[in-house]
Structure formats: C-alpha cells, structure tokens
C-alpha cells in the first residue's frame, strides 16, 4: 500500500507500520461489512418477503426458514471462519508501544 494521502508530507514518509497495517485491516473489515450487507439483505428480502404466502413453496433447512438459513445462518458461519482466518493468519502483530508518562501529555 502506498503512503497515506497527506498532502503536507513527502510520499516516502516513515509511517508507523502499526498505523499502516491497522488501516489496511480496517479497510478489509469495512469491505467484509459491505459483503455481509450485500449477501444478507438482498437474499433475505428476495426470498423471505413474499407478497402472498404460499405454504407449499415455503421450505426449511433443519427447521430454520430456508431464506433465513441461507441469508443469515450460513453467512454467519462463514463470517466466523473468515474471522478465524483474519485473526490467526492475516492480522499482523505489532508493538503498540509503551505507556506515555502523564508528564508528556500536553495541557495536563
């Protein structure tokens, strides 16, 4: 990823790696939220909001209405798998730094 867009600093500024990593991770999380929204909401709306309910067309998976099973339960499980991957294989560890002494605080 390129250096952050900050028009007062040179492009090769020595940015903090934790800042860069966490910003990249935040972007992925935001995309995950969008993906979840684009899956769950249209799927459930198109399949679970019938204008007229027809009992014969209504189906369940393990007792859960199938629109909810495929629209929420399955993505929930997948989101947990994604979280597992994200937390243990993608997210970087970094040195968060030592506690700044109170005296260093400006205006304290």
């Amino acid at each position: 990823m390129n250096a952050p867009d900050n028009n007062q600093e040179p492009a090769n500024a020595p940015w903090d790696p934790v800042f860069l990593e966490s910003r990249r991770e935040a972007l992925i999380i935001l995309l995950l939220w969008v993906a979840a929204l684009l899956w769950a909401v249209p799927y459930c709306y198109l399949n679970g909001f019938p204008e007229t309910f027809v009992a014969e067309e209504f189906s369940t998976v393990w007792g859960i209405p199938s629109w909810l099973f495929w629209g929420i339960a399955v993505p929930w499980l997948l989101a947990d798998v994604f979280t597992l991957w994200f937390c243990f294989f993608y997210m970087k560890d970094g040195d968060l730094g030592e506690e700044a002494p109170v005296e260093s605080q400006e205006g304290a």
């Binding site: 999380i29 909401v41 909001f49 929930w76 947990d80 979280t83 560890d93 730094g97 030592e98």
Partner: protein, 661 residues
C-alpha cells in the same frame, strides 16, 4: 405436559419450591462483591487513575473478550430481544443480521490503532484521546460533555431496566413481599414500593462494587456475567428443542415442527371486554390478570373462543374511558395456539363466564383473515405499523445500527484501549465471534419455540425470558435451574450499568478535574475524588430513576445511536487520517449530534413524540447522523489548514523518529 402456573404473577416464587430468583440474586451479589474485593486487593501500585479507570492496559484474552462482549450485550439482549422474537417470529434473525460480523467490526475496525494512539498519548479515557490527538482542551471538553449527557440518561434508563427486571424476578417471594408491605406503610403511595425496593437493592449493589473495585472489578464481574449469559443460553436451547419436539409427529425434527406450527399462527387481537358469571353457582372466583376464559362458539360445532385477561396498562386509555366492569383482554386467534393453551392450563382455564360485551383490535399488519406464514417470513407482524415490523428500509438501518454504530460506542472504545497487546486483540476478536454465535442465533431459536410452547404472552412479552426459564426447567424436573437461567438477563444489565457508571465518573475526575482544573493534584486526592464521583454519579442516577422517564427502551436507543453519531467519525479520522484536524473532527462530532437530534426533534412535529423520530426516506436517524458526521468531518477538514506537523509525527510516524513523544 404438566405445566407450572406460569401465567400467575407469582410464578417465580413457586418454581422449585424455594425461590430460585431470590437465591440467585443473593448468590450473585455475593459473588460480585467478592470479585470487587479481590480486584481492589490486587490493584497494582502505580498511576491510580490509569489503574482505576483502565486497569493499566493489562487485560488478557478472556478478560478483554468477555468484558467487551458483556458490555456490548446490554440488558436488552435478554429482555427486549427475546420479547421481540416472541412477538414477531423468525424475522428477528434478520433484525440482528449484522451480528454475523459484529465482533470483527466493533473490535477489529479501530481496536489496534486506537490502543496504540492511546498509549502514545497516555490517554485513559476517550475524551483524553481526542484532546491529546488534536491538542485541544476545548475538543476534549466537548467530548466529555456529550458522554456525560448521553450516558447519564442511559444510566437512569438502565437502572430502571435492572430494577424492573428484579421486580419481575422477585414478585411473589415471601421476604420480598414483606419488605414491600413495610415500605408501602412507610412511604405512602407516591412511588411503587416494590420498584423502589428493587431499585435500591440493584442500584446500591452496582454502585458499591463499581466504586470499590473500579475498572478491574467491572471487568471481572463482566467475565462472570459473560459466562453466566452463555451458559444460560446453552442450557435453554436443548431444553426448548426437547420440549417443543414432544408434540412433533414421528420423523419430524423439533425445530421443523415448531416452524410448521408458526406457519399457521396468526397474531392475537387485543381489546376490552365484559364478562359475567354464567356457570353453576359455587365457583365465583373473580377474574384476575392472567386468567384464561373459554367462551363456546355461537354456532353449533364452532370452536370455542379463548381470551386472556391482560395487565390493565396495556390498554389503560380505553379502560379508563369505560371503567368497571371492563377488563383488558387478548384473544388467541390460531387453533393450534388455542389447543396449546388448553393443554398448558388444564382446569385453570375458566368456562363459567359469559361474554357480555367486547371491543377488539387486530394487528395493523399480519392479521388479515386466513393469512398464514406471517411469523416465518418478513416483514413480520406489527400491532402498530401497516408496513410490518421490519420493512426493507429498517433492515438496512439495523445493519448499520448494530455493526457500525457498535464501533462508535465510547464504552467499547475504552475497552479497546485496555488490552495488553495485539495477540490478545486477535484472539479476543475470535473469542467474541464464537461467543456471540453461541448466544444470538440460539436466542432466536429458543424464543421461536417459546411462541409455540407458551402462547398468549404477547401483552407481557417483556417477561418471556424468566417465564420461559421457569417453564423449561419445571418441565424437565429441574426447577432449581431456573435461578441460573434468569441470572443471565440480570448479568447483562449489570455489566452495562457498571461500565457506564465508570465512564461518567472518569470523565469528571480525569477529563475535567485533573486535566483542566488541577493538573497537579496528588494521587491521594485523585483517588478520593474517583471514589467520591463514582459514588455521587451512581447516587444521582439512582435518585433519577426513582421517578424515571417513561420511554425506557427509546432512551436506550436514542443515547446509543446518538453516541455513535457523535464519536465514530471523529475517532476514525483521528486514528486513520493524518490530514484530519481539530476543526474537521469537531465539525464531525457536532454535525452527528445535531443531525441525529434533529431527527428526534422532527419526530415531535411529524409524529407527535420525541421518541418517534422523523425517518428521512424511512431510514433510522442513526444513518442520517453517521452520514452527516462523516461528511462534515471530511469537508471541513479539507477546507481548513492541515494539523501541526509535530502532531502528525507523534501519532503517525515510527516512535524512534517522532519528536513529540
């Protein structure tokens, strides 16, 4: 199935012979106090404020994960949410749709970076971070003011919620009723003595352990409460499936059977009625709240009608106009539900009354004649909205509401500032993801089963959690378990109240007193002030809750979404955007506050009530607030001078070359 008298107001007292509710409350309080004492004893030397309000940034995986999860899961998760599932059916699975990514969004989105920025500045509170990051005392004070404003209202509402919950739990318990009678004689009739007693019991317990133990006590009680919550759900789920499956035909699964029963359900009708005794002389017991009455059908062969006398409050206005002998009633409209009630009630359902007069009202959505499937599809039945419970616009709003606005809660942000390293963060995100998966979707299943097992609770659905706990445990011959199950909602509300209490007092001691009035205050003085302010804030909230505002859940929604509208954009810009400056982020905070508030004020003109906000294009005010906040922050930042270079260096560059730290 032989059932306990679940529709009697004192049902909890009778469960299991002894009172599991009272036992739970006392055992619970004792455990919480023990943890607070241990926390106080173990408090490390060093900076008192950092330890008291933030635990010295030393939280490990379990402590961090469970305090985060328990604080986020407020009392609503175990009262309001089950009540909504019971009232509207499977659609609640979509209502909480964004919980599928809630933990990773709320913890991963800003967690690592916020913790780093807080360390660099030495910040203990959220206003601290804002003040130091932008080097602006005014911005810090604005943040404190907004936190104190929103959280004070929220705290009063949560105190009320906790007290009402306790009142429900203890209703009918001998010792408690004696206390209520004593209090009634002492204070007269100005305040409900049962509520007052519960408020004092609940309030004083929370204030005491929070004041004494500080953040560590709150965290460790959160851990215990978090464990109780998940155990409660994990015990209820198999019990609910087992009981609902008892009526299933061979080869049909429990949940499949429950859903097929829900397909045929239609919403009940509510209204007022007059009954007069019509049976043989002898049984003339009056009809009390919770009584069931069977009225034979008017035509030959027609099925009997089934009514339940419900609390007057539900239809107070209509009853006041008519006076005695009118009573508030609920009529069950589905044949399957009627059979279930008759099976549950047995001889307790009365048939010695004649229906003399009746005025009923159906649901605004879902009550059309012959309509099926309303409890298993969207938008779900609604008593008041003809668009249904969850139209598309609200589906989208709630997707924002949980995952996005959850990231913007200052109480969660403080926890994100408290973990010890990134390994803890990574493991905790996954732990909370598993934890929430074990709680929220199972809750939907459990209370869909409750709809099948316990029809007729629609007017008192707030009590469905304790009622279901007793129902399930009694039916498997383990009444003593009910105490553990009803501890779960109690745990949820306690863990939210204690963290809010600490947020407000930290704002007053740290952000106002230490950083603006007396920067040179001694450790001892700060320690005394921290205890004093936590005590005072708690005491003030307790007094405020003696005569609490009416709209309990609405206040909680208003303050939760308002805090997100104010804090999310400024904090995201502050930690991720080097170009962000004090003008832009203040504009974002104020823009979020004002636009969100204006939707609620607009509700006064458009809908006649502050708590029925104006919905721009049918979206919830949280969406308007967040959009305005992010937009205002972005535009004002670009139109104002960049921040000082040394500030950017301090917070965005590698520490070894920074100049400010």
């Amino acid at each position: 199935m032989s059932l306990p008298p679940i529709f009697n107001s004192s049902f909890l007292a009778e469960a299991g012979g002894v009172s599991p509710a009272l036992f739970t409350f006392l055992g619970y309080t004792a455990a919480v106090f023990s943890l607070a004492v241990i926390a106080n004893y173990l408090r490390k030397d060093g900076n008192f404020l950092s330890e008291y309000f933030l635990g010295n940034r030393g939280l490990g995986v379990w402590a961090f994960a469970l305090t985060f999860a328990a604080t986020s899961a407020s009392g609503g998760s175990f009262t309001g949410f089950p009540s909504k599932i019971y009232s509207h059916g499977w659609i609640l699975g979509l209502w909480i749709g964004s919980y599928i990514i809630f933990p990773i969004c709320t913890m991963g989105f800003i967690g690592k970076r916020l913790n780093q920025v807080a360390r660099r500045s030495g910040a203990i509170t959220v206003p601290d971070v804002i003040r130091d990051r932008f080097r602006s005392a005014g911005f810090g004070l604005l943040a404190v003011a907004l936190i104190v404003f929103f959280m004070s209202f929220n705290l009063i509402a949560q105190f009320k919620a906790g007290s009402l919950m306790l009142k429900t739990l203890l209703s009918g318990v001998g010792v408690f009723e004696s206390g209520v009678t004593f209090l009634k004689d002492s204070i007269g009739g100005s305040v409900d003595p049962a509520y007052l007693l519960c408020l004092c019991g609940f309030g004083l317990a929370v204030i005491a352990y929070t004041t004494y133990g500080g953040f560590q006590a709150v965290v460790w009680t959160d851990v215990m409460q978090g464990v109780v919550m998940v155990f409660g759900v994990m015990i209820m789920l198999p019990l609910a499936l087992y009981l609902v499956g008892k009526g299933a035909p061979e080869g049909v699964g429990s949940l499949e059977y429950a859903t097929s029963r829900m397909v045929d359900m239609s919403p009940p009708r509510r209204g007022v009625a007059v009954f007069r005794p019509g049976g043989p002389e002898g049984n003339r017991a009056p009809l009390g709240e919770g009584s069931w009455i069977r009225i034979p059908g008017s035509d030959e062969g027609a099925e009997a009608r089934l009514f339940k006398v419900i609390p007057k409050l539900a239809l107070e206005e209509r009853l006041r106009k008519r006076g005695e002998p009118w009573v508030a009633v609920l009529e069950i409209t589905s044949p399957g539900d009627r059979s279930q009630v008759i099976e549950n009630q047995g001889d307790r359902a009365r048939s010695d009354f004649i229906l003399e007069d009746l005025e009923l009202q159906g649901y605004a959505y879902g009550a059309e004649d012959g309509r099926k499937g309303v409890y298993v599809t969207g938008p779900g039945p609604s008593p008041s909205s003809d668009a249904g419970f969850l139209p598309l616009s609200l589906v989208i709003s709630f997707f924002f509401m949980w995952a996005i606005s959850g990231s913007g809660q200052p109480a969660s942000m403080v926890r994100l500032m408290a973990f010890n390293n990134t390994v803890t963060l990574r493991r905790s995100i996954f732990t909370v993801a598993v934890y929430y998966s074990l709680i929220y979707f199972p809750l939907v299943i459990i209370f869909c089963c409750a709809r099948v097992l316990m029809p007729g609770m629609d007017a008192e659905s707030d009590r469905i959690m304790p009622a279901m706990a007793v129902f399930l445990t009694e039916n498997v011959g383990a009444g003593w378990l009910a105490g553990l199950l009803i501890a779960a909602p109690f745990a949820a509300v306690m863990s939210t109240v204690d963290s809010f209490l600490l947020m407000i007092s930290s704002g007053l001691v740290r952000d106002i007193y230490q950083r603006n009035i007396n920067p040179g205050a001694s450790e001892l003085r700060l320690k005394r002030l921290s205890y004093l302010f936590t005590l005072l804030v708690g005491g003030a909230a307790l007094l405020g809750a003696v005569n609490p505002p009416q709209f309990l859940q609405d206040i909680i929604v208003y303050t939760g979404s308002g805090l997100a509208a104010c804090f999310l954009a400024p904090v995201v810009y502050a930690i991720y955007w080097p170009r962000s400056n004090v003008e832009g982020c203040m504009a974002g905070m104020l823009g979020g506050f004002i636009s969100h508030l204006s939707m609620y004020v607009g509700g006064i003109f458009a809908n006649g009530s502050f708590f029925r906000p104006y919905r721009l294009m049918d979206f919830d005010p949280i969406i308007v607030g967040l959009l305005v906040s992010f937009l205002a922050g972005y535009l004002v930042t670009l139109r104002t001078p960049p921040p000082p270079e040394d500030l950017v260096r301090k917070y965005f560059y590698k520490p070894e070359i920074s100049t400010g730290a």
